[in-house]
């Protein structure tokens, strides 16, 4: 049986087709405010939105109002003067006949109904929202995915008002132009390395995909000039999650690269040594989840204009590190110094802080570092293990642990650090998230603390496993998001499932909200790492066994091979064109990831594999063949690059 083949158009192409069809329909019809053209989920990926179109003879501003189930739930936005009105409608309710009012400025109005199906298919998406409409107003709390539950945003009443049905994982931020920036939905390597970033409108239109050769993970940042910082890595190297790139906003081109291995090596080692070798040997500052492959595990970046520096959160060193933006040199490290080698103690004095004051505690395996306007440093202190890897005596079990938001005041002249605020410690294991999560600074004394990785095992005990794995083992997952103002809790959102981060934002922005025209695919995919060693073998002429249930999903710039193999089989995917061969090893061994910040792409059946191959670096048409142990099989599929 040949392998099933499908070609998947990029979402940008699918959305362009849908938009062009809508514009043709608008031009062909006589759509007025009394008879508008209504397109529910026009852009396919945002099922709590719609687009309403009509024309007016005179240019007029238009106000769109999605009526709330209660008056306080109403979401409204006024669009600028125009004669052709193409208006995004955001904030629709799921499983509800929504009432939407369109009103011309000092003119006519029309009420339309938009019936939205149950986009969550009966699944419980919230336990409780405890806040007031006066506090949250028309903001929503947007939760971004860390597992099978995809992006969702809740209003003051706990009603879902925004959702995406594709896995755009990790961080979501609002850009200065009002668009949203988030991880793309295209995974290029397990466990969660994505092709790049999507810049989208609130109604799901992708304006740009910024492709990054080493992929995107965890976090991004918009610079003052609009260029984008993107966390990445070199997927052809021996380490991951240890690089940052600056992307040109218009072209996607990489303008600057920071490699943290180099920064650490310059600070602590011999710069003439090969950095990857140096690091694998030293393994300095190890957290409980450290591995040589994922030695730093960078889960956040923050640019501080005041000091022209970059602060990174490195989970697997229990460290927040600050680098000079221009030189990439290390400025300081906030971390428990326990377990660092004796020979580095003298060099460490320049970079490490000494605690002062009472009630101080280091952070462990933290996330989402940020710098406040006065230079303080905040983060979500996951407090996973509560001690360094080497300090086994003081490591804590999940049931005895806690997580917290924490704020430190640092003095970079005296190299002292003082803990000036914390929230969550007294909640104990009920607020403990060993991974993911964030804090937000709104103003002095006004913060968000999002504990999005709470997990219990099947017996209801706080799980020693990360959420993605605890869930697979029959456990339950939760997220708790809290907002505090002047030490008073103003909001508490409690939902099932784990969510990477929470962001408070308005669905509509002061920007354009929706622009017509086809989105752009910028930047470039990298060349996928190949396996150098050849397995000399002729094709057996047979198709892959039916038990593999293999399929190939092809795209313009890459393809993905899905197949099931038994544990222990030796498997290699081959692309062959005459004498030209490209080899990709497929592991059939269950891998125990120490960090699974995003379990969205985990398969419940460990035998199922997913292998994505970028077409970069290849040209022509290739036969796809697969070696399974001692046989080389045909797939019947040709890939054109």
């Amino acid at each position: 049986m040949s392998v099933n083949y499908t070609f998947n158009k990029h979402l940008i192409d699918q959305q362009a087709e849908a938009e062009e069809a809508m514009l043709k329909e608008l031009e062909a019809g006589n759509y007025t405010i009394d008879n508008p053209l209504v397109k529910y989920n026009l852009y396919l990926i945002s099922p709590l939105t719609a687009v309403v179109c009509f024309k007016t003879e005179e240019a007029a501003a238009v106000t769109v109002t999605v009526k709330g189930k209660a008056p306080q739930g109403t979401i409204t936005h006024t669009f600028p003067k125009a004669t052709t009105h193409i208006l995004p409608v955001a904030g629709l309710y799921s499983n509800y006949n929504n009432s939407v009012e369109i009103r011309l400025y000092r003119g006519a109005s029309k009420s339309i109904e938009i019936m939205v199906p149950d986009v969550f298919e009966g699944k419980e998406v919230i336990y409780s929202m405890d806040t007031t409409p006066e506090y949250l107003q028309d903001d929503v709390i947007l939760l971004s995915p860390a597992g099978e539950d995809l992006s969702i945003a809740f209003d003051y009443a706990g009603d879902a008002r925004w959702h995406m049905n594709v896995p755009c994982v990790f961080d979501v931020k609002r850009l200065k132009n009002g668009n949203l920036i988030m991880g793309s939905s295209r995974i290029i390597q397990m466990p969660y390395y994505m092709s790049g970033l999507y810049e989208i409108s609130p109604c799901g239109k992708i304006y740009k995909e910024y492709r990054v050769p080493g992929g995107y993970h965890h976090d991004e940042w918009e610079m003052e000039d609009g260029n984008l910082l993107c966390l990445t890595e070199d997927l052809r190297s021996e380490t991951v999650e240890d690089m940052l790139v600056l992307l040109d906003r218009n072209t996607g081109e990489i303008l600057k690269t920071w490699d943290y291995k180099v920064a650490f090596q310059k600070a602590f080692g011999d710069i003439n040594e090969d950095s990857s070798k140096w690091f694998n040997t030293k393994g300095i500052g190890q957290s409980g989840s450290w591995s040589a492959h994922d030695w730093f595990h960078n889960n956040a970046v923050w640019y501080d204009k005041n000091t022209n520096s970059l602060t990174f959160s490195g989970r697997h060193m229990d460290a927040m590190t600050n680098l000079d933006y221009e030189t990439g040199d290390l400025n300081w490290i906030i971390s428990d110094p326990t377990g660092w080698p004796e020979e580095l103690q003298e060099k460490m004095k320049k970079y490490f802080f000494t605690p002062v004051g009472n009630n101080f505690g280091w952070q462990y395996e933290q996330h989402a570092c940020l710098i406040t306007p006065n230079g303080d440093v905040m983060c979500f202190d996951n407090h996973h293990y509560g001690a360094k890897k080497a300090d086994t005596e003081h490591q804590l079990l999940a049931k005895d642990n806690y997580s917290r938001g924490v704020r430190y005041k640092i003095d970079t002249d005296k190299m002292t650090i003082e803990q000036v605020w914390e929230y969550g410690k007294d909640k104990g294991a009920a607020f403990f998230s060993p991974y993911i999560c964030n804090v937000e600074y709104y103003n002095e004394g006004h913060y968000m603390v999002h504990s999005g990785g709470i997990a219990y095992d099947a017996d209801g005990v706080p799980s020693e496993q990360l959420g993605a794995f605890a869930g697979q083992g029959g456990g339950t997952l939760e997220s708790i998001t809290v907002e505090i103002c002047d030490n008073k809790k103003q909001l508490e959102l409690h939902v099932p499932g784990n969510y990477y981060r929470a962001e408070k934002l308005k669905l509509y922005s002061d920007g354009i909200n929706l622009e017509m025209g086809k989105g752009q695919l910028l930047g470039a995919m990298g060349v996928t790492k190949e396996f150098e060693t050849d397995i000399p073998m002729d094709s057996c002429g047979e198709m892959m066994p039916e038990s593999c249930n293999a399929r190939i999903e092809d795209e313009d710039d890459r393809f993905t091979f899905f197949s099931r193999f038994e544990k222990g089989q030796m498997v290699m995917l081959l692309l062959e064109q005459g004498e030209e061969k490209h080899r990709y090893f497929i592991s059939t061994t269950a891998v125990s990831f120490l960090a699974m910040c995003c379990g969205t792409f985990l398969d419940s059946d460990e035998r199922n594999t997913r292998t994505s191959i970028n077409k970069a670096g290849m040209k022509g048409t290739y036969d796809v063949r697969v070696i399974i142990d001692d046989k080389k099989y045909e797939t019947g599929v040709k890939i054109t690059c």
Binding site: A292, T533, I535, F565, G568, Q569, M572, F585
Partner: protein, 102 residues
């Protein structure tokens, strides 16, 4: 030379010169792949001894060397460990480890 050995044979061969020990399992895909890589590595070095140890049949030896998973490569120089690699590795990585310890 690539040779599969038991614990006793291993101890007899590991004390002199450079010896690369490959702790493998017959039930492990990456281990099988590593076998092909090691054949290529052997060609690079004339005097390198590569000893393959079945993880499941030599528990005492694996414990003695602190091997907790497979495949694991342990490089010995005159009987003393000088390098270690865990998981499937590509040829250049293994070659570099050996060259660094020649």
């Amino acid at each position: 030379m690539i040779k599969e050995v038991n614990s006793e044979e291993f101890k007899g061969l590991c004390g002199t010169g450079l010896v690369l020990a490959d702790f493998f399992s017959t039930t492990c895909g990456p281990c099988k792949m590593l076998g092909f890589v090691l054949k290529d590595v052997e060609k690079e070095f004339g005097d390198l001894t590569i000893l393959k140890i079945d993880f499941d049949l030599n528990k005492e030896l694996t414990a003695e060397y602190g091997v907790t998973g497979y495949p694991t490569l342990v490089l010995l120089k005159d009987g003393t460990e000088v390098g270690r690699l865990q998981g499937l590795q590509q040829k250049p990585v293994i070659v570099r480890m050996i060259q660094d310890n020649q």
